[in-house]
Every structure is written in C-alpha cells, then in structure tokens.
C-alpha cells in the first residue's frame, strides 16, 4: 500500500511529458530536423517583427540605375544582398517586409478562424439538437468546396480590399476547429470533473470557459500550428494570382507573381520570396508533425489526422 502510494507520488511529481514546450530553450531535446525548423521559424519571426530595423533599404525605394542588379555572389553591386528588381528596389528588404505582411495576414487569419471555429464547436457540443445540425451542415459544406474557388468568387464579386481579404483568410479553415472542438467538448462534458463542477453548482458559462476550455486547449493549439502553413499558402496563392495583397504593399506571393515576368533576366526576384514561402511551410509542417506525435490528446479520427495516418513517424 505505502509502496503503491510512493509510486503514485513519484509519478505525479514527474514533469508532464506532453506539456507544450516552445523551442526557446533546450533545442538539443528536439530531433535535429525539428530544431532546424524551429530556428528557421524563429528567424522568420525576427524578420517580420524587426523588418524596418534590419532592412538596409525601404521596400519602396527605387533606384533606376540599379535595375535588375544580380545578387552579390553573382557580381551584383550597389549593396543589394539578393539583387534588385525591375524598378531597382532591394529584393532582400522587400522580402523582409513581405514576410511581415504574409506572416501578419496568416496569423491574423488563422487566429480569427480558430476563435470562430472553436466558438461554433463549443456551441454545437453544448446545445446539440438543431444548433449542432446547423453547425455540422456548414462544416460539411465548407469542407466540400475548394476554398480557393470560393475566395476567388467572393473577390470577383466584391472587388479587392484588405479587410475582406483578411476576413476570407479567417473563414478559411474554421471548420477544422469547429469539428475538433465539438468532438473534444462532447467527450469532456461526459467526464467526471465536468459532472463534479456541475454538481458544485457552476453555471454553464463557468464550466465551459474556466474548466473545459483549458482542458481541450492543447490539441486546438496544435491544430492552429498545423493550419498556419495552409493559411500562408492560401494567402500567397491568392496574392500570386493578383487577387490578394495589392501594390504598393508587398507580400511573398505578390513578389513571386510579379517576379515571374523577369525570370529570364532576373530569376532572383521570384526565387527569393518563393524559397522563403517553401521553407516556412516546410518548417511549420515538420514542427506540426512532431507536435502531433507529442500531444496524445490529439483527436486521431478528426480532420487533423486522416484515417490510416498513425502516430508513427512520418518525417525524415
């Protein structure tokens, strides 16, 4: 009996294995690929936050004498690290500002979608009945249509503006949170602690916000991480096609889209922002794959993990 108690005490004293650790300290604990991904993402965040301090030029500063100047390793002059574009603007500085725009839009969109979807998921699980049916109908509908096509249609009808564009990014992916949150809340409200809190006389709001929400938060945060690359890709795709961020603002997709016309003479205008997009989505998905394995509460049968996708290693 005492031995058993002792073991229990030891087990509870052990740090929680699955707590979300953010890769600020102790990078050695991560697999090397994950660590590299985390470092790259850290650099992206620094680039986005301090773009105006790091950038040697303003993103709008034109220098017609320095037009299509190649990157320094190809003998370019004028201090352009990654060369200059068709108007003699520094590609490196523009990339930094583009990272800021793309990251801001993607984060804002993802957070709006997460809040909206989670809220609807909670409503569906709390009230069941027709509320549940309606939410799930919307979820099915959203999942059935390719979002790029919906976004293109909405932008065609309303014309382009930044607020609408961010709103669209917010709508993108909400159904995943709704579905996962609904599933998590449905099982959480059946558990002992929910019953105990309810018997103690806590009202619905208190139960759901103060008790169930913290308990289901970590899978939702993982889902949010997993969704960021999708949102980045959607933003860059729309901007690439010319329907997203508009000049004089700049975004990674827009730079790539405009740089496409100069591939023959100045490939760096398109390739630099493209590489940044690729490495960012790659890093986030590597990190996300790793998080899925580490967070056991992850609802395996819901949309984040598809049938047949086991927890077993995926990355290289």
């Amino acid at each position: 009996m005492t031995a058993q108690l002792e073991r229990l005490r030891q087990e509870s004293a052990r740090p929680r294995r699955f707590a979300l650790r953010f890769p600020t300290f102790g990078l050695w604990r991560f697999p090397p690929v994950v660590a590299a991904a985390a470092i790259f993402l850290g650099l992206m965040v620094i680039a986005a936050v301090f773009a105006d301090l790091i950038a040697p030029f303003s993103y709008e500063e034109q220098n017609l004498l320095g037009r299509l100047q190649p990157p320094f390793w190809l003998g370019g002059s004028g201090g352009y690290l990654f060369g200059a574009d068709e108007l003699g603007r520094d590609v490196f500085s523009r990339t930094l500002y583009a990272i800021r725009t793309s990251m801001a839009v993607a984060l804002l969109g993802t957070i709006i979608g997460a809040l909206f979807g989670t809220f609807l998921g909670f409503l569906a699980a709390r009230f069941r009945g027709w509320v549940d049916d309606l939410v799930m109908l919307l979820v099915d509908w959203q999942a059935a249509m390719p979002f790029l096509v919906i976004a293109l249609a909405v932008l065609a009808f309303f014309g382009n503006n930044l607020v609408l564009f961010i709103a669209l990014m917010g709508i993108y992916g909400w159904e995943k949170y709704a579905r996962v949150a609904r599933g998590l809340v449905l099982s959480a409200q059946e558990q002992g602690y929910a019953l105990a809190i309810r018997s103690l006389g806590a009202g619905g709001g208190r139960l759901y916000v103060k008790h169930i929400l913290p308990n289901v938060l970590s899978p939702l945060i993982v889902l949010l991480t997993l969704n960021i690359p999708d949102t980045i890709l959607m933003e860059t795709t729309l901007s690439f096609l010319g329907f997203g961020i508009q000049p004089p603002r700049t975004s990674l997709g827009l730079m790539l889209g405009l740089g496409r016309d100069y591939l023959l003479n100045a490939w760096w205008i398109a390739v630099v922002p493209g590489t940044v997009i690729f490495l960012t989505t790659l890093s986030i998905s590597l990190l996300g794959d790793w998080l899925i394995k580490e967070v056991p509460q992850m609802p395996a049968h819901e949309s984040t993990q598809l049938p047949g996708e086991s927890r077993e290693s995926i990355g290289p």
């Binding site: 999942a143 096509v149 293109l152 860059t236 795709t237 889209g257 390739v271 598809l306 047949g308 077993e312």
Partner: protein, 316 residues
Amino acid sequence: MILGVNLGFIAAKVLRALLTVWLVLTFVFVVLRLSGDPATQLLPDDVDQATVDYYSKEWGLDRPLWEQYASYFEAAAEGSFGISFADRRPALEVIAERIPATLQLGLLSFAFAIVVGIPLGVVAALRHNTVFDRLAMSFAVLGYAMPYFFMGVLLILLFSLQLRWLPSSGSSTWWHLIMPVLTLGTTPAAMFARFTRSSVLEVLNKPFIRTARAKGALPWREIVFHALPNAAIPVVTVLGLRFGELIGGAVVTETVFAWPGMGRLLVGAVANRDLAVVQGIVVLIAISMVTVNLVIDLTYGWLDPRIRSARAEGAT
C-alpha cells in the same frame, strides 16, 4: 437492397449532395446581389443611364429579388448561367470549351500521382526504417510543402529558360504537358506516398497478414491480395478529402503555364469581373466535388464488405 447495395443509403447520400449544390447556388446568388448592382459594376463608367437601364432589363436585374432567385434556379437547372460579358456568348458554352483541357491535365496529373505515390508508399512500408523509406518520406514532406506556383516557376526556370528543353506555356504538343503534370501531380503524389505507407504499415501488423504468411502465401501474393485491398480504404478517403485542393492546384498550374483550361478561365473571369462565367464555374466545381464524394462514399461499400453489411443492417 439490390445487388448488395442499400438503396436507402444511396438516396440519403444523393439528397445530401443535392442540398450542398443548392447551398452553393444560393451562396453565389446572395453574394452576387450583396456585392452591388451588377449592371453598374459591369459596364464602363462613362455609359449613360439609358444603357444601364437597358442592360438591367436584359439581365433581369429590375425584377424583385425573389423573382430573380426563382428564375436563377430555373436557369441553373437548364444549365444557363447567363451571358459572358467578355465573350458575348452563353457562359456555359465558354466554360464547356475549356473542360477537355482541364480534364486532360487533371487526369494525367492524377495518374502520375498514383503511379509514383502509391508504389513509393508501398515500398517504403515494406522497407520500413531503411534508407529508401527515409528518402521516400523526405520526398513526401518536401513535395507536400512545395506550393504549386513555386514548383511551376522553378520548373520553367530550369527546363525552359536554362536548359531550353521544354516549352513554358501553351498546349499544342505533348511536350507542353510535362511540366504542368509534374507541377500538379507532385503534391498529390507526396500525399499518396505518405498515406499509403502508414496505411500499409498498419495493415502489415494485423493478424490476417500473419495468417496469410503462415498459410504459406508468397510475399507478392501477401501484399497484392491481402495487404493492398485493406490499405486502400484510407487512401481513398484522403483522395476524396483532398480533391478540392487538387482543383485549387489546377487553377494555379493552368495560370502559370497558360494552359487553356477552366482554371485559367476562372482567373481571367475574376480579373475581368465576368460574373456569369465565375458563377458557372463555381457551380460546376461544386457539382463535380459533390459527385466525386458521392462516388467515394459508394466505393467504400465495394472496398470493404464490413461497411456494406453494416449499412444493410441499418436503415433499409
């Protein structure tokens, strides 16, 4: 029950599919009206009021909203989505011309994805934890993170501009197909490789594989007749869930390579605000999405007799 197929089940699925199409049609209608008066938006700014009135009448924009809604459905049922403003021909006619090119590109990319992705996944699973497995999964992770537009730009840069092997745009010869198919097919190939691998790995650990082996089944027999049919179900599910992404990818790929398909038409129509064509394409895509999902739902029963019998026991 006819021929092992549960008719009640199919009826429910078809009803749901029709409901989705109805929702999409309503969505397009509402968005089209919310965005303002199509007559003033679609005509040049300097036309006089008489011309605006004339077109409002011709397009039925002067009638009450509910009447517009009714005639809109009537027209949609007949396949008439209005007149393309840019082309001055029925929108459906304009769209229909582009369907063969899109189908050609889509089907070939899909075939490429299956031919590359599935064997890669099977071999990776059979050679679990070897160098081959790791290489295949690295390809899967890289291919999945690579945006369609950047892949297209890189291929053009390498094969059209540097090596001058392949044409970068158009569709007149088979050579024109290579790069678009690679661009559109790589991401689904990566996806198939990944899901096939985890699906086969899961199946290989099941008791019936041990039984087959104990009965002296030859290794290839074991894989082809026992493992693959069982691994197919999750792969088919992924296929259905990601079909929408493939459509989005086709829009981007067709734009990058100037491929004369529906996707490029959609992008052009959005840029010109040719709303009749936009709504026609949105509705057609919705119908094809719903059809694909319906076919996949019905395929489950054929792939997995257990699902068939469960359905037979349910609502008949």
